[in-house]
């Protein structure tokens, strides 16, 4: 069982390097929590993301809380979440007080521009790996393409997509179950 302070440190590190919004945390979570420490599997991480889309609150917090809970129960959930938001808290407190013009510094702007491009590359690479591994039968492909079409073409919200995909998956499951009998 991981010690609480190690859990804190891990999520502090992850939180510190999550530049530009919750999505950027996914490649880091995959690398540190799934691949390296095997706290959960790829599939479980994706499941947490689905659940996180439907439950109230910021998705990042939802996913981190879940992972923390799985490791060390309620204390783990709290410690992991506080760890993950602490870097943002510290940085923004500094920005609000003494570093008001932090974002005006040209080196900061250049550095963040580079980081943002890298984040896009990291997420793209991760999606490719996960898709290759987990979109491996005809109905996964249909759900994937269908969801993408609804998002791009018809501006459906994330929650709507999850609901539709969920209902589709359950219906297909029921039908297949009945066919087997």
């Amino acid at each position: 069982m991981i010690e609480l302070w190690r859990l804190f440190r891990l999520f502090f590190k992850i939180g510190l390097f999550t530049f530009g919004g919750g999505l950027a945390m996914l490649p880091l979570l995959k690398a540190e929590v799934v691949d390296k420490r095997r706290f959960l599997t790829d599939e479980e991480l994706m499941d947490l993301f689905s659940i996180g889309q439907c439950t109230p609150g910021i998705i990042v917090v939802n996913v981190v809380t879940f992972i923390g809970y799985k490791q060390r129960g309620v204390m783990g959930a709290i410690v992991a979440t506080i760890g993950a938001v602490m870097p943002a808290f510290i940085i923004i407190s500094l920005v609000a007080s003494v570093l008001r013009h932090f974002m005006d510094n040209k080196y900061v702007i250049y550095a963040f521009a580079g980081i943002r491009v890298c984040v896009v590359a990291l997420i793209t690479s991760m999606v490719y790996d996960l898709a290759r591994k987990h979109i491996n039968n005809w109905y996964s492909v249909i759900i994937f393409i269908g969801a993408l079409a609804l998002l791009v073409g018809m501006n459906f919200s994330a929650v709507a997509i999850v609901l539709i995909a969920g209902i589709t998956a359950l219906s297909v499951g029921e039908i297949r179950g009945k066919l087997k009998k």
Binding site: G22, E43, I59, I91
Partner: protein, 172 residues
């Protein structure tokens, strides 16, 4: 009193904002109008800041508004208010998951959601790419990073560090 107010208002946002981080933004605009804890232009600035800095926009705004209003304690109270609903609800959901994860229907459901989740992530990253990869040099760096990531398979942290340096060197 201000602490209670900060806590309650951000608790409400934490409870009502369902979905990705950008969902908090309309609620934040409302807050700005209601209390003047931050101006609309400050909010817009902070949204831009959040594009780059660690932390979801919600957490950043809670800290910022709280700090502006009542210093570091205000920031802490607002942030804790924001994350508390998530933590509580997720712990409940996690306990439920423990009980029902073996259920075949639940398994089918989650399995079916995975391709949808990947579609969601892909769509989101396309949105980010639209505002991040703006001209040829960005495309070049995107491809370069992608190649590095695929070939050398090192920690993402390393690539982010390199990206920051390259950003400065090449004045992206």
């Amino acid at each position: 009193m201000i602490f209670l107010l900060l806590f309650v208002e951000f608790f409400k946002i934490g409870l009502l904002a369902i979905g990705g981080g950008l969902v908090t933004i309309p609620f934040l605009f409302d807050l700005s109008d209601k209390y003047g804890w931050f101006s609309t232009s400050e909010l817009v600035d902070m949204i831009a800041v959040s594009e780059s800095t660690p932390g979801p926009i919600g957490v950043n705004m809670a800290t910022y508004a709280g700090f502006n209003t009542a210093n570091i304690l205000g920031g802490a109270v607002a942030t804790i208010g924001l994350i508390m609903p998530s933590v509580m609800i997720i712990i409940l959901v996690a306990k439920l998951m423990d009980k029902y994860s073996c259920n075949t229907r639940v398994k089918t459901l989650l399995e079916g959601l995975r391709p949808a989740v990947l579609a969601l992530i892909l769509f989101s990253v396309l949105q980010i790419a639209k505002v991040t990869i703006l001209d040829n040099i960005h495309i070049l760096f995107f491809v370069a990073f992608l190649m590095m990531i695929r070939l050398w398979k090192k920690s993402p942290l390393l690539y982010l560090g390199i990206a920051a340096l390259l950003g400065i060197v090449f004045r992206l």
